[in-house]
Amino acid sequence: MTQIGEVAEPNVLKSIPSPHLPARRHCLDLDDYSRQEIEAVLQNATVMKDVMHREIRKVPALRGKSIVTLFYEPSTRTRVSFEQAGKILSADVINVSSSGSSAEKGESLYNTALTLQSMEADIIIVRHPDSGAPNFLARHLNASIINAGDGSHAHPTQALVDLYTMASHADRLEGLRVAIVGDIQHSRVARSNLWGLTKMGASVVLCAPPTLMPIDFLGGHHSRSNNPFTSVEIETSIERALEGADVVMALRLQKERQDAGNLPSLREYSRLYGLTPKLLEKARTSVIVMHPGPMNEGVEIDPAVAHGPMSVIEEQVANGVAVRMAVLYGLVPATRHRD
């Protein structure tokens, strides 16, 4: 049986050097992950997957640790996969959501966080509609903070799930051509993927109508010093964006965008940017299609694509637990030194 930290089954991830997870206190975004650390997380996820297929799905890595999931937005897959990941690693997992908690009575994020701290939470996994909420918690609490999605800012574990899913289909991430299509402006998934993919050497094209593309990307972000995103292409035409793509990632389109005036109608968006089998002909024949979920089938993605042969969307969900186990495991050294 494979041990945690060892190289797993022959896999596209095999070329990755022996993983060594540095001590990490928080997981706020992928901006502070090195390429080596990302590789190590992906490789450990492979090992975690193996753990998940054992008869007894339990390892003691986080025994005696308490994890709180603190969700201020609805979520199914992210919250459940974190809970599952924590439980397989033997942590005690407590779920707190804004509805049904004191947040509903108007308690501030700060005071709620202090309450969790006084209950000695070791790891707080937070989802919040405001960008920067995890950074705020990391500033004020002793616990390790994992960002499970904050506003339009970041969703690092989803990006790691996406990288893992890509790596398990392609033979490399370096040079992989990834098209991300949809509401880039408001997408935390796109922002974290941008960090992850750029660090791994993938070539990224972002595609959105100009009203859903950050003005900085439209207006020559290339010129800024130290900009890690200089190779990122910006495209308003989906045909051109998909050309030669190895991976196409569709983003969820929030229905509010229509009311906010970003779009004339969902119908027009779907007509111009919806991922159809015909459009996918522009991509490589080996293309895989991804979506962070939940999908609006018929808006950003045609059901025939969502459930078609190129779709790896269900795999993304399945990989969610293993990757989040690897992320939690990566925090172990940080939480352990408190003993």
Partner: protein, 444 residues
Amino acid sequence: MNNSGLFLIKNGHVIDPAQQIDRLGSVLIQDGAISGILGPNEDVAEADILDASGFIVCPGFIDLHCHLREPGFEYKETIASGTLAAAHGGFTTVCAMPNTNPVADTRATVDFVTSRANQDGAVRVLKIGAVTAGSRGERLVEMGELADAGVIGFSDDGLPVSNSNIMRQALSYSSTFGLPIINHCEERSLSLGSMTEGWVSNRLGLLGIPNSAEEVMVARDIGLAKLTGGRLHIAHASTAGTIELVSMAAQEGLSVTCEVTPHHLTLSEEAVLGDGHADRSFGPLGASAYDTNAKVAPPLRTRADVASLVQGLKEGSIDFIATDHAPHATVDKLTTFDKAASGISSLETALGSLMSLVHDGDITLQLLIEKLTAAPARFLGRNLGSLKSGSPADVTVFDPNKEWVVDPSAFVSKGKNTPLSGVALKGRIIATIVAGDVVYQQNG
């Protein structure tokens, strides 16, 4: 003060832009008024002495835009604490914005501020009345009555006068009293975000506010000033485009003026990134990112905007500097960036941060003092902001080279909200004198 009623601020570097004085000397005060400027080392028998050698001696600073929060928000600031902060910052006159609770839209509220200021105020307090009832933007206040109560202008500050017709009527009606309409220019359908729109907002995933949110309303208001002949003042100008519009209006001979804050002159959008991002790096954000103390309306802009504001100050298209001191309680800022209150507590750091422009060679010390004294006094049309004989003895003494590190917990303002915490500034107030009384003197 002794019985002679004489007070000599001795051997300082006297700068009085109103009289174009810039030389070594001593300022003699008698019975609360300026008696004259003497040569260095001239002694006056029986005068109290403040040794100002090595220091700048200038007219007391005038701040035409600050928030004293009383009545209604005493947990953020009071007239007592706010005016004490002013004294610590070298300001001898401050002008209270009306966005209190209740809004200063009636004589009763304005009179309350007046009486509270007379009772508790460490420095002179002038009042601004609201433009519209409750600052709701719907119906003009009784401007005649507020003018009688002594307001120096009208503003719904904190909020813009959004309705163009109301703004037109306000400019037109207030012209009877010769008082300005001070507009917080912000087209709110464009300003749903929480910081300047650009690479930093994109990096942080925060909804941005484009410069045009300010500029479209500045352009509208200039059009209305032209239409009505009214007196328009643009509060806290923050973009290069605003400066361009205002200077065009001035060239046309319209009665349009504008002010700029110390923070918009010295800080840029990168401040929101938190520690270690001064070099606009794309390094990891970490826990100090989303600095809510850098959230302010209008937002901190790009470095290009900052450069344009400094240029506008030099070229005269910006009329004066005002702090927009906006104190908040800790709890108002102890939350996510989107939910945090906007504003910077700036009375006590204004001089130190503005002096960086002088030390960096961007502007002269004389110009800086002019924009804090003679220029706002001109706007007010009052006998303030000068060391002319017979003027009220409002004097500020400061050490232009004294280095100090900003420690918000040492602020006398109740508002500890500053993005400058831990920042080293060069330039510190030594003493502040209002009508001959020392209202602040630095210890040691």
